[in-house]
Amino acid sequence: MSARIRVNGREEDLAAPTVAALLSDRGIAAGTRGVAVALNGAVLPSRRWDETPLSAGDALEIIRPVQGG
């Protein structure tokens, strides 16, 4: 069985080696204003996306601001 990770609550195969690679696969470049990432419950600053490897069982939250009250 292949390694799995959770991205925004959804399980998927671990395909990208780093956080930056995973985001880039989804069209989000490092340093995109308004996007932030938490890895396993802690904020991962965008300057560290490149150097941060992903491993089986990791949980990522990728957020952005939306309309709100």
Binding site: R26, G34, V43, I63, R64
Partner: protein, 256 residues
Amino acid sequence: MNDTLTIAGREFRSRLFLGTAGYPNQQVMLDALEASGSELVTLAIRRISLDGYSESLVDVIGDRAGLLPNTAGCLTAKEAVLTAQLAREALGVDWIKLEVIGDRELLYPDVEELLRATEELVADGFTVLPYCNDDPVTCRKLADLGAAAVMPLGAFIGSGLGIRNPHAIETICARSPVPVVLDAGIGTASDAALAMELGCAAVLLNTAVSKARDPVRMATAMRDAVAAGRAARLAGRMPKRAFAEASSPQLGLIGT
């Protein structure tokens, strides 16, 4: 007359804070924002859609107003703290409208979790503006923990029921060591004016404008109502009387 509002050392000319949700479209939202004169708008933080990256709300708002991200929908201090930290990372803004709710239908604050989250976020360097109950004791505790303002509700979020307990709001305003921002419940202009007359430093509203038949016109009405209520508060209202007192002279009446 110089009557700026200061929260955590930041000055505002407008005492109206506006939400960005629920407008018929983005242009109406921007037009309403301009009409309101507001210098601070609220945003929510949500998981990004991984199917496609749409235009960023931040870019749409640009430099039209300052940004106040919220933690809407969070049920625990832990969720709210992480949401606030993500908001800071995403926006470079360390102000947070702290919402920790205890009931998904009523959207009523969970005071225990709210106090805990306030303490943690203040310690982490945030300027915390908590949405809270119209309860003077809770408001005092939040201020003691370092909240930069307190934001008691006038009525349930999105209800438009106005200020259900004006005496509580007035009491909170009279006793609070930090600015009081009436948040939630405003339905129309007179509600916003009343909040200011009761002593609130500012009003935060969203649905009253976004769901008005003409949001831009209502935004103008809210701007004027907040200004009028503030001016009335500063002017000092006349004392209330139980009986009539003629304003015209009693002497020189014809036929006496």
